[in-house]
C-alpha cells in the first residue's frame, strides 16, 4: 500500500523504528528538525538518501522513511559522495557524530570541501563518545575528565566551524538541538545550497556529558549584521569561546564536482565495443 502525500508533514518522514537514544538526547531534536526540514522542502523520500557512519547519532537513517545507508565508522562522507557522483538526481544527506566526522573520518572532510560535491552533512556534536560509553572526543574541552582521560584531556579542543571555514567549505552553519525550528531552517538551506554544506549541530548527551545548561547559556544567534560571504569575520565568530554562535556563518556558490562530471557526461555515447577495441588492432 502506498499513499501519495501532496503536502507532507514532518511525520511523513518518520519510520516505525523507535530511536535507541537515551531519553533527553539532543539527537531527538536534530531528528525532528530533519523531519521538519525535509517536509518544508517537500523532498521525495524515494529520491532522498540519508547516509551515516557509526555512533549513537549514526542510527539516524533507521528512523527515517527515506532511503538510508548506515555504513561503517567514519565513512559516511565518501559513501555519500560516491552516491551523489553516480546519482546526481538524488538528494543526499550525510549524518554522524563528532567521533565519526572529526576523528576517524576527519580526513574525508578536507576532500569533501575541495570537491564541493552537492551533499549536506549534519554533525551531531555532544563533545563525548556516547555509544562506547563516555570516552573523550576531538571536541571535548582541554582538561576534560572522561573514562579515557582520567587525568584530564591533554589535547586541545577541535573547532569544527573554524576548521570548515579554513577548508573553504561552501556552506557553513551551526544549529542547536534545543532550537529545532532554527536548525530545520538551516537544514533546508543547506540542502538547497548547491555544493558541500556543513551543519554543525550542538546535540548534548544527557548520559555522559551534560552540556545542556552550558549551551543554553552560550548559544547566541549570529549577529544580524554578519555578512555570510565574509569568511574572515565568519572565522572571528567561530573562534569565539564564550559564545556558541548559531546560524549561517558562510555561504559561497561555486562549481560542484558532481555538476562538472555531468557536463562531461552530456557528450557521452553508449559504449561501442568494436569501436573501442580498434585502438588495439
Amino acid at each position: 500500500m502506498t499513499q501519495t502525500v501532496i503536502n507532507p508533514t514532518p511525520k511523513d518522514y518518520k519510520s516505525e523504528v523507535k530511536p535507541t537514544w537515551c531519553p533527553g538526547c539532543g539527537d531527538f531534536g536534530v531528528l525532528n528538525a530533519t523531519y521538519r526540514g525535509l517536509a518544508g522542502m517537500k523532498l521525495a523520500p524515494d529520491q532522498t538518501v540519508v547516509v551515516s557512519g557509526i555512533g549513537c547519532s549514526s542510527r539516524f537513517p533507521h528512523f527515517m522513511k527515506t532511503f538510508g545507508f548506515h555504513s561503517v565508522h567514519g565513512r559516511a562522507l565518501p559513501v555519500a559522495q560516491g552516491l551523489k557522483m553516480a546519482r546526481p538526481d538524488l538528494t543526499v544527506v550525510a549524518v554522524g557524530g563528532d567521533g565519526d566526522m572529526f576523528s576517524i573520518g576527519a580526513g574525508h572532510l578536507i576532500h569533501a570541501a575541495l570537491r564541493n560535491i552537492d551533499i549536506t552533512v549534519i554533525v551531531m556534536d555532544n563533545e563525548i563518545y556516547g555509544l562506547t560509553k563516555g570516552q573523550t572526543s576531538p571536541t571535548s574541552p582541554h582538561g576534560h575528565v572522561t573514562k579515557s582521560t582520567p587525568y584530564g584531556l591533554m589535547a586541545s579542543q577541535f573547532n569544527p566551524i573554524a576548521t570548515a571555514l579554513s577548508l573553504n567549505v561552501s556552506f557553513v552553519a551551526r544549529g542547536y538541538s534545543a532550537k529545532p525550528k532554527e536548525l530545520a531552517a538551516l537544514i533546508e538551506k543547506g540542502i538547497q545550497h548547491k555544493g558541500f554544506s556543513f551543519i554543525h549541530a550542538l546535540s548534548p548527551c544527557p548520559t555522559f556529558y551534560h552540556t545542556f545548561d552550558a549551551w543554553d547559556a552560550a548559544v547566541t544567534p549570529i549577529p544580524a549584521e554578519h555578512s555570510t560571504n565574509d569568511r574572515a569575520s565568519a572565522v572571528t565568530l567561530a573562534m569565539e569561546t564564550e559564545k556558541q554562535f548559531i546560524g549561517l556563518f558562510y555561504q559561497e556558490e561555486r562549481p560542484t564536482m558532481d555538476q562538472a562530471a555531468q557536463q562531461l557526461v552530456q557528450q557521452s555515447k553508449p559504449f561501442d565495443l568494436e569501436q573501442y577495441m580498434k585502438r588495439y588492432a
Binding site: M1, Q3, A44, M85, H111, R115, Q267, K269, P270
Partner: protein
C-alpha cells in the same frame, strides 16, 4: 630456420628500452605473429635498470619463454644482470664501446648503437630505433612494420614532428644496412612472412578497463597504487565518454566507501588497488557483504608483505582475499589467467557482484597487468549482462510527477512490507534502487532482520548468516566450472590459479611429448570453489602439484584444508613468474 624467437632487451629506463620493446612486440604482432611480453620496472622514477622480453612465434604463445634466444644489452650493467637468462648458444648483441663480453658459447654481434645514433643519425634519442633496425635486419619483422607502429605512436605524441620521424626512419635504415652488410648472420632465428590474422594487442590492465566498460561499469573510485593505477587512469578517461563518473579518492577506504555509495544508487561500480590498499579496504569489504551491496574490487597483486616490491609479481593475496574482514563474510574471488580473461572475467565479476549482491575480488597480478599478448579479436565479445534481482511491489508506488510532491513512495505500509533482506531459497533477496516510485530501505552493516532493521536476536542472526552464505551455494551451482587440460589418463595432476595458466599448459604440452601422463585444472573462481570438479580431478590422478608464486602455498593450504589434499608444493617467490621449464622439472620429479 625457426619461426620463433624470444628477445630480451636490457638497458636503462628512459633510454627507450621499454618503448623499443613495445614497438618490437606491436610490430611483430601486426606482422602476423603471436606475442607475449614480460618486463621489469626499475625502482627509480627516472632511470634505473630495466628489461623487456618478448616472445614472438607463429604458434600461440603461452608463456614468456624459459630463456632469451637473443639478448640485447644497451650497457654493461644490463649484460651483468641478464646474461644468465640467455640460452646456451643464443645471440648476444652489444655495443663494443660499452663493454667487451666474456667469450662464452653464445653467438655475438657487435653493433655500434651509440656511434650510429650520435654520428650518423645525429640524434642520440634514436638509439632505440638503431637497435630496432638491427633487430629488423637480423631477425625481422621488416622495417615497414616497425615504422607503421612508430608513426602511429608519434601521431599521438606531443613531441611529434617530421624531423623526428625522418630521423627515426634514418636510424632504422642505417642500422638495418649495417647488420646486413657488416655482419655475417650465423644464428637460426628468422621471422619469415606469415599470414595476417585478426588479433588485438593489449596488456592485462587495458583488458580490465575494456572489460569494465563492456560490463557496464559506470562508476570508479580509487587511489593511485602500482600496479593498478593504469586501470584508474584508463577509466578516468573513458567513463565520462560512456556516461559514467569517476572519483579519485583520498584513500582506499574512501574509494571502496564511494563505490558502495554508487552501488547503493544502482550503478555498477568498481575500484582497483594493490595489496596495501586492499588491506585498508577490509572493513568496507565486510560492509559490502553484510549490506549485500555489489562491488567489484580489483587487486593487482604485487610482492608483499607491507610495501614489499611494488613492481614485482606475486600470487600472495589469495589467503587474504579469502578471509579479509572480521566475522564470517561471504565474498567471491575470481582470478584471470591471461589478457583475454582480464576482459571476460571482468564481465563475469560484475555479473557475479550484481547477481549475488556481494563483493567480488578480482585477483590479477603485476606480471599480468603489464603483460602484452596478441589475442584473437573474437575473444572480445559484447557482454551478456546479469542484473540485480529487483523488488516488484504489488502496486505502483506513485512515482513523482512534475508539480506533484511525491511523498508517496516508501511511505506507510510500503516500508514495513518491503523485506529488503528477505529469506529466500537462493539467498538472493530482491533489492530496490532510489528513484521515483521506489520503495525505500536502509542498507546497514548492523545485523538486521528481513526489513533491514537492527536485530540482535540469536535466531535471526543465525538465519541471516545462513541466508548470506546460501548465496555462495547458489553461485557454486550456477557458475561455470574449470576445464581439465592435458592427458585424460594422467597420473600427475597440476592445480593452479591466476596468471600461471599458460606456463603450466606449456609445461604439460612439453611433458606430454616426452611421454609423461599429466593434466591440469586451473581455478578461475576461487570462492566459491567448484568442490565436485576439484574432488573428481584429485581422485583421477595419483599425485597433485600445486605451483604458486608465493611463499606459503596459499592455494595448496586451501586445498589441503578443504579436500585433505597433500600436494607437492612448488613455490617461487622472488618476484618473477614461473617459466614452463620450472614446472616441467616438477612434473619430471614426481612422475
Amino acid at each position: 630456420m625457426v619461426n620463433e624467437v624470444t628477445i630480451r632487451i636490457g638497458g636503462e629506463s628512459g633510454e627507450g628500452t621499454i618503448s623499443g620493446g613495445d614497438i618490437l612486440a606491436l610490430a611483430s604482432a601486426r606482422w602476423g605473429y603471436h606475442v607475449y611480453t614480460f618486463r621489469t620496472f626499475p625502482a627509480e622514477i627516472l632511470g634505473g635498470p630495466c628489461m623487456f622480453q618478448v616472445r614472438i612465434s607463429d604458434q600461440p604463445v603461452k608463456s614468456m619463454g624459459d630463456y632469451a634466444d637473443v639478448l640485447i644489452c644497451l650497457n654493461k650493467e644490463a649484460y651483468d644482470r641478464n646474461i644468465g637468462e640467455l640460452r646456451h648458444g643464443g645471440v648476444l648483441i652489444y655495443d663494443p664501446s660499452d663493454f667487451t663480453p666474456e667469450t662464452g658459447d653464445c653467438i655475438t654481434y657487435a653493433i655500434p648503437f651509440n656511434e650510429i645514433a650520435r654520428k650518423e643519425v645525429q640524434l642520440f634519442q634514436t638509439k632505440n630505433m638503431v637497435m630496432l633496425g638491427a633487430i629488423s635486419g637480423l631477425f625481422g619483422p621488416p622495417s615497414e612494420a616497425i615504422l607503421q607502429v612508430v608513426q602511429s605512436k608519434l601521431s599521438k605524441s606531443r613531441k611529434a614532428n617530421t624531423t623526428l620521424m625522418e630521423k627515426n626512419v634514418l636510424a632504422l635504415e642505417i642500422a638495418k644496412n649495417y647488420v646486413q652488410q657488416k655482419l655475417s648472420k650465423h644464428d637460426p632465428y628468422v621471422l619469415g612472412a606469415v599470414e595476417k590474422t585478426d588479433r588485438l594487442v593489449l596488456n592485462g590492465n587495458q583488458a580490465v578497463v575494456a572489460g569494465a566498460l563492456a560490463a557496464r561499469c559506470r562508476f570508479f573510485a580509487g587511489y593511485p597504487i602500482t600496479p593498478a593505477s593504469d586501470i584508474m587512469e584508463g577509466l578516468a578517461k573513458e567513463l565520462p565518454q560512456v556516461g559514467g563518473t569517476f572519483l579519485q579518492a583520498e584513500d582506499e577506504m574512501a574509494a571502496l566507501a564511494a563505490v558502495l555509495g554508487a552501488s547503493y544508487g544502482g550503478v555498477r561500480s568498481m575500484t582497483a588497488t594493490s595489496g596495501p590498499g586492499f588491506s585498508l579496504m577490509t572493513e568496507l569489504i565486510g560492509l559490502s557483504s553484510m549490506a549485500e551491496l555489489p562491488a567489484v574490487i580489483v587487486d593487482a597483486q604485487r610482492a608483499g608483505p607491507s610495501t614489499g616490491m611494488p613492481t614485482k609479481m606475486e600470487q600472495s593475496d589469495l589467503s587474504f582475499a579469502l578471509h579479509a574482514g572480521h566475522g564470517d563474510t561471504p565474498r567471491m574471488i575470481i582470478a584471470p589467467a591471461n589478457v583475454a580473461d582480464c576482459y571476460n572475467l571482468m564481465i563475469q565479476a560484475f555479473n557475479m557482484a550484481e547477481r549475488y549482491q556481494m563483493p567480488v575480488l578480482f585477483l590479477t597480478d603485476q606480471s599480468l597487468t603489464a603483460r602484452v599478448e596478441s589475442v584473437d579479436h573474437s575473444a572480445f565479445k559484447p557482454a551478456e549482462l546479469q542484473e540485480r534481482v529487483q523488488y516488484q511491489p504489488e502496486q505502483s508506488n506513485g512515482a513523482s510527477e512534475n508539480g506533484k510532491v511525491p511523498v508517496g513512495a516508501g511511505v506507510g505500509e510500503a516500508v514495513s512490507s518491503f523485506a529488503r533482506y528477505a529469506y529466500t531459497a537462493s539467498g538472493i533477496s530482491p533489492i530496490t534502487t532510489p528513484g521515483p516510485g521506489a520503495t525505500a530501505y536502509v542498507a546497514t552493516g548492523l545485523e538486521h532482520d528481513e526489513h533491514g532493521h537492527p536485530d540482535y536476536e540469536p535466531e535471526d542472526h543465525t538465519a541471516m548468516m545462513e541466508k548470506r552464505f546460501r548465496k555462495l551455494d547458489t553461485a557454486a551451482e550456477e557458475l561455470p566450472k574449470p576445464e581439465r587440460y592435458g592427458d585424460e589418463n594422467a597420473t600427475v595432476g597440476i592445480i593452479g590459479w591466476g596468471s600461471t595458466e599458460g606456463t603450466i599448459q606449456e609445461a604439460i604440452d612439453r611433458a606430454l611429448t616426452k611421454g609423461y601422463k599429466v593434466a591440469s585444472l586451473h581455478l578461475k573462481i576461487l570462492s566459491p570453489l567448484p568442490d565436485r570438479t576439484i574432488r573428481d580431478f584429485i581422485h583421477s590422478v595419483q599425485k597433485v602439484i600445486v605451483p604458486e608464486c608465493n611463499y606459503s602455498g596459499q592455494l595448496a593450504n586451501l586445498l589441503g584444508a578443504k579436500y585433505g589434499l597433500q600436494a607437492m608444493r612448488v613455490n617461487k617467490f622472488g618476484g618473477i613468474p614461473f617459466t614452463a621449464g620450472e614446472i616441467l622439472r616438477a612434473i619430471e620429479e614426481v612422475s
